[in-house]
C-alpha cells in the first residue's frame, strides 16, 4: 500500500499570508493618513500613517521578492514586453510600484507642508493603497478551481481586513489621544463587523458548495486549521473584539488597545487560514 504515491505541495506558502497582512496594514494606514485631511480628530495620523505605510512597503516588497523562486527576475514583472494584463499579478506589480512612487511624492509634500498638493496626493496614495488588498484578493479570486478563493467577496473581505488591521495599528499609534481613539473605535468596530458578515457568507457558500468546497469547509473548521480559522480568526479575532468594543470597557483606552491587538491577531490568522486551507484539498487530487 502506498507504492507509486505521488505527493503534491501547496503552491503558496505562509509567507504570502504575512505579505497579505503587511499590505493590509499599509492600505489601512494610508487610508487614515488621507482621512486626516478631512477629519481633524485623526490629524495625529497624517505623518505617522504615511511614514509607517512607506516603511512597511519595503518589508512587503522584500517579502514578495524573497518568496519568488527566482528573486532577481522580479524585474520581469516591470518589463512591458513581458507583462500580461490578463494576470492579476501583473496589475498588482504596477499597483505596488505606483503606490511606492505616490508615497514618495506624498512624503515630500508633507515635509514641505504644501496643503493643496498634500490633500491631492493623500487621495491618490490612499486609492492606490486600497488597490493593494483589492489586487491580492483578486489574485486569489482569479483561481477558478479553488474553493473559497474563487468567490467575488474575497477582494471585499481583504479591503475590510485592511481597514480593520489599519485602524488597529492606528489605535496603537495614537495611544493617549482620546478624540482619535473615539473615532478609530468606530472604524475598528464597523470594519470588524463587515469582516464578520463576509466570513459568514463565505462559510455558508463553501459548506453548501460542491465536493471540493465541502471538503475545504471541513479543512477550515476542524483540526489545527480549525483552531486557527475558527478559534483565532473568528472567535478571538472577530467576535471577541466586536463584543469588547460594544461593552462600556471598550470605550476606554485599554479596551480599544486590547480590541486592536485581538483584531491584529485575528486578521493575521484569517489571512493564513484563507490562503492555506483552500489549497489543501487540491494537494490530494
Amino acid at each position: 500500500m502506498g507504492d507509486y504515491v505521488v505527493f503534491h505541495d501547496v503552491s503558496w506558502h505562509a509567507s504570502y499570508a504575512v505579505y497579505f497582512f503587511v499590505i493590509g496594514i499599509i492600505a489601512g494606514l494610508s487610508f487614515f493618513s488621507f482621512l486626516s485631511w478631512h477629519k481633524p480628530s485623526l490629524r495625529p495620523l497624517r505623518e505617522k500613517g504615511a511614514y509607517a505605510s512607506f516603511a512597511l512597503l519595503f518589508v512587503a516588497g522584500l517579502l514578495l521578492i524573497a518568496d519568488l523562486s527566482q528573486p532577481l527576475r522580479f524585474v520581469n514583472v516591470l518589463n512591458p514586453a513581458y507583462l500580461q494584463f490578463d494576470s492579476p499579478l501583473a496589475w498588482g506589480s504596477l499597483n505596488i510600484v505606483t503606490f511606492g512612487l505616490a508615497s514618495v511624492a506624498y512624503l515630500m509634500v508633507l515635509r514641505k507642508g504644501d496643503e493643496k498638493w498634500g490633500k491631492t496626493l493623500a487621495a491618490v496614495t490612499a486609492l492606490l493603497a486600497l488597490g493593494l488588498p483589492i489586487y491580492t484578493g483578486y489574485d486569489l479570486t482569479a483561481h477558478q478551481s479553488r474553493p473559497v478563493w474563487n468567490t467575488p467577496v474575497i477582494p471585499v473581505l481583504f479591503v475590510a481586513l485592511a481597514i480593520a488591521s489599519g485602524s488597529a495599528v492606528a489605535s496603537l499609534l495614537t495611544m493617549g489621544d482620546e478624540i482619535a481613539r473615539s473615532m478609530l473605535r468606530q472604524y475598528l468596530l464597523w470594519s470588524t463587523g463587515a469582516v464578520a458578515v463576509i466570513l459568514v457568507s463565505i462559510l455558508g457558500t463553501t459548506n453548501y458548495g460542491g465536493s471540493a468546497e465541502e471538503l475545504t469547509f471541513i479543512v477550515l473548521t476542524t483540526g489545527t486549521m480549525g483552531l486557527i480559522f475558527l478559534g483565532l480568526g473568528i472567535l478571538a479575532g472577530t467576535a471577541a473584539p466586536i463584543a469588547l468594543l460594544l461593552a462600556p470597557y471598550g470605550r476606554q483606552q485599554t479596551g480599544v488597545v486590547l480590541a486592536a491587538l485581538l483584531v491584529l491577531v485575528g486578521s493575521a490568522a484569517l489571512r493564513y487560514a484563507l490562503l492555506m486551507g483552500p489549497q489543501y484539498v487540491q494537494t490530494l487530487y
Partner: protein
C-alpha cells in the same frame, strides 16, 4: 460539436487548418507498469519527487475480488488553460498550432501562480540543484513531448506504453486515431466543470479517482514518513 463548446478565442479545437493535439487514455488497457512514468523521467531527466506524468491507483472491491484501477495523469494541455492567463510575464504560453502548453524557463519568476491556477496538479517547481542542466528553480510541466511531436514522433509515454493505453494525435483531424476513439467511445475528462477544456480524454475512467471525494483522497497514514520526506525536500 467542438465549435459549439468553444467559449474563448484561445481555443483551437475544431478550428479548421489548425492542429489540436490530444491524448486518449484507455484505462481498461492500463496495467500499471509505470513504464510511461519511467520513460518520461528518462526523456526529461525529471528530478526525484516530482513528475510530469504519474499513475495513481485505487484498490476497489472486497477480498478476494479486488482490482487496482489506474488513472494515468499528466498536463491536460487545456484548450482554455488557466495557467496561461494567470502568468504575469507570459512565461507559460499556448502554441497556437498544436495546442501545446509550454514554458519559457528564462522568463519564469517562480511566483507559482500557474501552479495555483492548475486544477490538475500538473505543474511543479524544479529543485535548486540539478546535475545535467541549469534549468532550476522554475516551474516545469509536461510538454506533450513537443520536441518529439514536431519531429513526427509520438510522446515518449505513448511510445513506451505496453498496453497501448495511451494514444496521441491531432483531434482536429477527423481521420486520426484519437478522433476515432473520442467519437466512438464514451470519454471523460478531469474536472470538466472548470471549463478548461482538457485535451486528455479517459475511456472507462473511475469516477472515484476523477472527482474529489473524502474516501478516495483521504490521507494515508502509512505514507506519512514519505510525505514528510517530500515536504522536507520540496517545500519552497
Amino acid at each position: 460539436m467542438a465549435e459549439e463548446l468553444r467559449t474563448s478565442s484561445i481555443e483551437t479545437r475544431g478550428v479548421a487548418g489548425r492542429k489540436r493535439y490530444a491524448m486518449v487514455v484507455d484505462t481498461r488497457r492500463c496495467i500499471g507498469c509505470m513504464a510511461c512514468q519511467v520513460a518520461c523521467k528518462a526523456e526529461f531527466d525529471t528530478p526525484l519527487g516530482v513528475n510530469r506524468t504519474w499513475v495513481p491507483y485505487k484498490v476497489v472491491g472486497t477480498y478476494p475480488t479486488v482490482k487496482k484501477h489506474f488513472l494515468p495523469r499528466l498536463c491536460n494541455h487545456c484548450d482554455d488553460p488557466p495557467c496561461v492567463r494567470n502568468c504575469p510575464v507570459e512565461a507559460t504560453y499556448k502554441v497556437e498550432d498544436g495546442g501545446f502548453v509550454l514554458m519559457r524557463y528564462e522568463r519564469c519568476i517562480g511566483c507559482r501562480s500557474c501552479m495555483a491556477a492548475c486544477p490538475y496538479n500538473a505543474r511543479f517547481m524544479l529543485p535548486a540543484h540539478r546535475t545535467y542542466t541549469n534549468i532550476t528553480n522554475v516551474v516545469d510541466k509536461c510538454t506533450f513531448c513537443f520536441h518529439r511531436v514536431t519531429q513526427g514522433l509520438v510522446p515518449s509515454c505513448v511510445q513506451t506504453c505496453i498496453g497501448r493505453s495511451r494514444v496521441f494525435g491531432d483531434i482536429n483531424d477527423p481521420a486520426s486515431e484519437v478522433s476515432y476513439l473520442v467519437a466512438t467511445n464514451a470519454t471523460q475528462v478531469l474536472r470538466p466543470e472548470q471549463g478548461t477544456k482538457p485535451q486528455v480524454f479517459y475511456i472507462a475512467g473511475d469516477r472515484n479517482q476523477m472527482e474529489f471525494g473524502r474516501d478516495a483522497y483521504q490521507r494515508r497514514d502509512v505514507m506519512d514518513e514519505d510525505r514528510r520526506a517530500f515536504e522536507r525536500n520540496f517545500k519552497a
